[in-house]
Amino acid sequence: MRPLSIFLYEWKHFFRSPFKIVAVLLFMVASIYSLHNGAHLYEKQSSEIERLNKKAQLQKETLVSYFENGEKGPKDRPWVDNTKPFWAIWNTPTYHYKKPSPAIVYNIGQTEQYGFYKSIKTNSSPYDADMAKEIANPERIQSGTLDFSFVALFLLPLLLLVLLYNIKGSEAEQGFLPLVFVQTGSKNWWMISRTVFYAIIILLVLFSVIVYGAVLTDISITDDAFWNIFLWVTLYLLFWLIIYFLILRLGKNTVSNTLQMIGVWLLFAFIIPAATQQWISIEKPTNLMIDIIDAKREKTDDIYALSDELIDKQLFELFPSLKQTEIAKDSVRIKRARRSSMEALINIAMKDATASIEKDNQSKNELISKTYWFNPITFFQNKLNHLSKTHYNDYQDYRNEIQNLADKRTKIMVLDIWNDVKVDKVKYIEYTKLFSNVK
């Protein structure tokens, strides 16, 4: 029997199985719903970013108007002098964003665990309280958003199970399996053709919904993300096809095959990832950020308690050019400059503290990665997270950018204070451009 004939028979069988048709339709409905969830989050984050940009622009315009009107700052805050680098930089609104990738439509990943915008100050740290995630119902976050990756990783194997569960078993129970083998010539060929038939149906469904998702967030069909997502979902489908095929090939009846298929699904979807998470949380308990707290309190106090000589020594080590400035030679003006520059030293202490936390988190991630070979769903989930730029590492990159911007801001502030730079409209606009640029 030719594969085309097997396909045609299977097509008839499929159309006579309302249970299978309903399963495919439900899968499509879930996919479309999940894609809309992803698109909704994309729009929400994009519009929030736009709103914050407008807000920052308004603040900048207010500051520019002070310079244009020859004012130092708001009248009700006479101590604010925006012609001084300290105040001008303090009042330069800079937001740094983790802009959502359009591929978020397919996979929300870890997006909801983190904040996606941050107002940068000279004393900013990537672990500040304002890095909190968006306000959301924790019960919803805990149960996970129904995004397309959830549909692909958890519902796809179930759909495949529904479509394949009675292959061979049903014929064996009705007693015409030998007849089928005589007609087809090869048991394997017949089973592979039937399995491939359903694989093609699922691939068509997947491709259609992935195209639909691309339309929602304007992903181009030539975009790498589009094809990569499709490729990895296809590989995932192949993974389950092989497992289910082996069960069907070696199994004897429908019920036992179904039980084995669902058993394997439970093992990979629930037991292994859950056991891994439990093990990781015992091996590496939640970090309560004591190092950061210590840096904010004890180390900051220590810095403020340093003698002038020691502060100067540390500042000159950090920024050697300060030594040559006029202010460094002025015993009166140096006091104010020194006080305003202490944040640079605190910044170093904070960076040391965050480095130890990041090292701890990295070791957790390495442990998790080591489980990939027996924990395929976690592997595929993180693969999709990478593709939609919603992986832990993408947020780590975002935190690194925040740190770099804070470093840059501090450095410019210290150098300009010690060089006694006078800030005017041109200089202020230069600040706004400089501080927004990560590089």
């Binding site: 249970f19 119902n137 590496k284 939640t286 004591i290």
Partner: protein
């Protein structure tokens, strides 16, 4: 009926597959209870160490201006809860560290989930994961051919000829399958009790009892429905696939869709919208750090009049502390308004989700499971509220010291000594009494009970005309 149940169990115990599966599952359950308990105790230790460390820093303050101490602030860590070793609920996605300081109410940050890459979509291997997702499947596997196999073998006819009524047979089969789930549940509760014998209180007993009740009801629904399908349909495979379909829709599909939908029906503000609204409202109040603030000046006039003096320097108290406290009081009312709104929205979301229990009893089970184990959002919100109440007491104590401690207005260099800082109490989390929050879970329990009744009615009336061969 009892005889049929006994016979069913005799058959089950004779099955090697059943015994093998049961032993493997019980071992997995045992591991989950031990690990859950061990992890919670380790977490408790980490929490205690962090709490002691931060407290030590506070009581070690030699001397400091009270308002500077309000800025120095303190930190509160979300405590681990032994009950959550059975069901962790929202604990891994909510933050763990909350900074308590003057002028601002910070958000809780540094959740466990944010400290690593993604692992499990369904949480850790806690007993609740096995009890909610796996045990119902085991019950389905045990029940799907209980009646249909009897029909095929002709045993059903024999039983009826011996005098048993079809309803009795079906109910007995339901109970025998349900009993398996109940025994697993009893096993979990007993092992949990033995491991935590020193921490068992009346509160823990009540909560665990209700946890047990909600699972027994759910297991009855699943067992009854599967046996019903097995009786109604001639084909065991059809009974199995139908019930698997229902399991998938209930546990994987519907609960997730409903949870996502309720957040759209009752939207929460974005963090920026929320903070802008708070800032806007706060700007209408008093600025504690700005002596030229209009409302501050009005307060000054009022206080001067009260004390019958002309200038701040004549006041026997420090007006700066009073202005700071007035700023706090106003800020507190703003917080109450905005966080109150958020809490209302979250409550509406919860209520809508609970109503989902009408079509999906799994939702009611999830709600009661984490609610009774004190790990749902309601308990999390209560914790946040306790921290905010503590913050108010903490800051007021510092501002009052600034005001009435003996310093004069404008004297920011004045400092209090270590004795005062030692006298400021530490945050002490008081677990919520279950009796005060039970109304929140009544709907879930009622829905589970109604579902159980519906299943009994289905069996009673739906199997009247079943074919016995």
């Amino acid at each position: 009926m009892l005889q049929i149940i006994k016979n069913e169990w005799r058959f089950l115990v004779r099955s090697r597959i059943f015994l093998g599966l049961s032993i493997a599952f019980i071992l997995t359950l045992l591991v989950s209870i031990f690990l859950g308990n061990y992890q919670t105790k380790k977490q408790e230790q980490t929490h205690q160490n962090a709490k002691d460390h931060v407290r030590q820093q506070w009581v070690s303050i030699d001397e400091m201006n009270p308002h500077s101490a309000a800025h120095y602030g303190t930190y509160v860590f979300k405590p681990a809860n032994l009950l959550s070793s059975l069901d962790e609920g929202v604990n891994s996605v909510t933050g763990n560290v909350l900074r308590v300081e003057g002028h601002v109410q910070n958000e809780i940050i540094h959740s466990e989930a944010s400290q690593m890459q993604a692992i499990s979509r369904f949480g850790k291997l806690k007993p609740s994961l096995l009890l909610q997702y796996i045990v119902p499947l085991l019950l389905i596997f045990l029940a799907f051919n209980t009646v249909s196999s009897e029909k095929q073998s002709g045993r059903l006819k024999l039983l009826i000829l011996q005098g048993a009524k079809p309803l009795q047979i079906i109910l007995s089969k339901t109970f025998s399958v349900w009993l398996y789930g109940v025994l697993l549940l009893v096993f979990v509760v007993i092992i949990y009790g033995i491991l935590n014998i020193d921490s068992i209180t009346a509160e823990v007993l009540i909560r665990t009892g209700l946890f047990f009740l909600s699972y027994t009801l759910y297991y009855f629904i699943v067992s009854g429905l599967t046996v019903f399908f097995s009786a109604r349909w001639q084909n065991a495979t059809l009974a199995l696939t139908s019930m698997l379909g229902i399991w998938i829709i209930w546990t994987i599909f519907l609960s997730n869709i409903l949870m996502s939908s309720v957040e759209k029906w009752h939207p929460l503000p974005s963090r920026n919208e929320f903070q802008s609204a708070m800032k806007e409202d706060r700007s209408k109040g008093l600025d504690g750090h700005n002596p030229k603030d209009k409302r501050g000046l009005a307060l000054k006039e009022k206080v001067l009049k009260e004390y019958g003096v002309d200038s701040l320097s004549q006041l026997p108290i420090n007006f700066d502390g009073m202005r700071m406290q007035a700023d706090e009081d106003y800020g507190n009312s703003v917080w109450d308004k905005h966080f109150g709104n958020n809490r209302n929205v979250l409550q509406k979301q919860k209520q809508s989700f609970q109503l989902g229990g009408i079509v999906n009893p799994f939702i009611s089970l999830q709600n009661t499971s984490m609610g009774f184990m004190a790990s749902d959002n309601l308990h999390h919100q209560e914790f946040l509220l306790q921290v905010e109440n503590y913050r108010r007491v903490f800051i007021k104590m510092l501002n009052d010291k600034q005001t009435y401690g003996g310093s004069k207005t404008g004297n920011w260099s004045w400092k209090e000594d270590n004795t005062f800082f030692k006298s400021v109490p530490d945050f002490d989390h008081k677990p919520i009494k279950f009796s005060t929050i039970i109304p929140n879970y009544l709907l879930d329990i009622v829905l589970l009970a109604i579902w159980s009744i519906i299943v009994v009615l289905l069996i009673r009336f739906g199997t009247k005309k079943i074919k016995i061969v």
